[in-house]
Amino acid sequence: MLVFALKRFASALLVMFAISVLVFLIFFATPGVDPAARIAGRNADPATLAQVRHSFGLDRPMPIRYLLMMRHLLIDRDLESFVNRGSRVIPQIIQATPVTLSLVIGAALIWMTAGILMGTAAATLRGRAADPLIMLVGVVGVSLPAYWLGEVVNLLTQKQLHDSLFSWVPPPGYVGLGQDPGQWALHMLFPWLTLALLYAGIYARLLRGEVVTALNEDYVRTARAKGLSERRILLRHALRCSLIPIVSLFGLDFGALVGGAALLTEVVFGLPGIGKLTFDALQNLDLPVIMGTVLYAAFFVVLANALVDILYARLDPRARHA
């Protein structure tokens, strides 16, 4: 077990290292993205440009620059943005994290509840009108572009119906949970729903398939022959087994979302989370921030992968020995 954990840890480190090198190469080895002139300012003369290049270490060989950047990011923890000079990367990420967590946790609660309810209901109501109807909702959820939905929601709540139905909807933006929990929830409500719709669709469709398969399994027949109630059979046996792949998928999705995959929702709703931080940094080619956020994102994805492995073993005893 220890060896396994160590191996896993080593491979995670390797992946993160590879990602950092990749990002560094992508953004530094390509022409046209030299940050020196942008840092120096408009119409800086060549001498100033050279000074800036030197003071930021941009005139040093590539591997040294990489090592310097990683040292500032990981060891000194004082890596600074190229665009907002003096603004440190790590505090920026730390500040953006609660926003993303607020969005993702809230949305996850909604989509898991809705997804499980929809998927289970559709599976048990198979052969009746409700099943295709529920699944249609699922397909629509999966097929709507999240950013577009967000814009349409904004249009409806901020303009078209703002004076009537949605007068209670605050303008897009973020209010901290600690600042005002009521406003926090109100500000997050539509972002939650928008993000959750997509995932609720995915999970409902997936779960329906799993439950349908499970209900045809021998063990369900055994359970029924034992004289258990249908409800118990569904919840304790079929659903319990169906949730295994769902939970592991959830882990991966959750990790990716916390890592910044909720970018589109954050951009559309003006939420200053990790996704938006990354996107803004990408727009400005603010390499230190990009490096920080991408490593942060990769960390969460890798972490989620590891957690899913562990969780999988907890959920499915068969996996413990494999």
Partner: protein, 338 residues
């Protein structure tokens, strides 16, 4: 997420015919296919509409142009004439197929004509990216799973690295850089403005989604008796791959194609929305949405129409994909979600 390899991996003769039969009997899937066909046909007919009905060039700016509404000549872009006279508003939907049926965008171009042309781009990118992903993903998965050892270790690590990027982040990273410089990979050169750039990027980021499950499937196959037997009898590897492995793996890969196409189209539109996807003058549904955002409060149709088309097409693809999966390989599962 993962693909659990089907236990009865070896098929009785004529699985394709059985699958086709199953698919043809699946009325929902057929309806989805019909919708899809309709969208494809409409997109193919884009020039017909633009040239012969609307008489407009959807790639030509008509900033100072005029059109006819109810027999009166009006400007396509109307500067505000009230109050301080700020802003310019394009013509809204006229519901007249010959003159700006769905109105104009901020360049004074016919939105409907652009939607039809945009459909070509979106569908092209969706289909080609999905095909490319499935082909490359299958190859990578089969090679990794079959070769094992160092090859597998290296490929798996590379896949891990790609996997550890949230897909959109990776796509945006690549797009931002490649849009500035274009892509030069050995003999392959893709211009920054070319449609092949988003195709390549989207195909690349989703490869692990195909390669990983297929690798798992091949690993299981590799340990099956009949393949062990074939290996033991000294059959050449290419023949084993062709005769024994691929026939088992290809149906799974095919199951992924429609679902992947839907995913690729959504990704394309998202990238275009963030203006790192399809570049003007090419139009895709995503870029039309992005163009329309500047007009959201005055001309919401420009944004809403392409969004609905994306939703319709991806929904049809998803339903069709479910049908294909049920017919070919019920155990195949694509990790959705973006």
């Amino acid at each position: 997420m993962t693909l659990s390899p089907s236990p009865g991996a070896r098929r009785s003769p004529g699985p394709w015919r059985t699958a086709a039969g199953d698919l043809l009997r699946n009325r929902t899937a057929l309806a989805a296919a019909a919708v899809l066909l309709l969208v494809v046909l409409a997109s193919l007919c884009a020039p017909l509409y633009a040239d012969h009905i609307a008489h407009t060039d959807p790639f030509q700016s008509h900033v100072s142009g005029t059109t006819v509404v109810d027999g009166k000549t009006v400007p396509v872009l109307t500067p505000s004439s009230t109050g301080l006279g700020l802003g310019v508003t394009p013509i809204g939907p006229t519901w007249d197929p010959a003159h700006y049926f769905l109105g104009a965008d901020n360049q004074g171009r016919d939105v409907l004509a652009r939607l039809l042309y945009g459909g070509r781009t979106s569908l092209f990118i969706g289909f080609t990216a999905a095909l490319l992903t499935c082909v490359v993903g299958t190859l990578v998965g089969v090679v990794a799973g079959y070769a094992g050892g160092v090859v597998d270790a290296v490929i798996s690590r590379v896949l891990d690295v790609v996997w550890a990027f949230p897909v959109y982040l990776l796509a945006i990273c690549l797009s931002v850089v490649l849009l500035t410089n274009g892509l030069k990979l050995g003999p392959v050169t893709v211009d920054a403005g070319s449609l092949w750039l988003p195709v390549t990027i989207i195909a690349a980021i989703y490869v692990p989604y195909i390669a990983r499950p297929l690798r798992g499937q091949v690993l299981v196959l590799r340990n099956k008796e009949y393949i062990q037997a074939a290996v033991g009898s000294g059959a050449p590897t290419p023949r084993i791959l062709r005769r024994e492995v691929l026939p088992n793996v290809v149906p799974t890969a095919i199951v992924f194609v429609p679902l992947m196409t839907a995913l690729a189209m959504l990704t394309e539109s998202a990238l275009s929305f963030l203006s790192v996807g399809v570049q003007p003058p090419d139009a895709s549904w995503g870029t039309i949405i992005e163009d329309g955002l500047g007009l959201l409060y005055t001309r919401p149709a420009v944004t809403i129409a392409p969004g609905l088309l994306i939703a319709l097409t991806t929904a049809a693809l998803n339903v069709l994909g479910d049908g294909v999966r049920d017919a070919l390989d019920p155990s195949a599962r694509l990790r959705g979600g973006v």
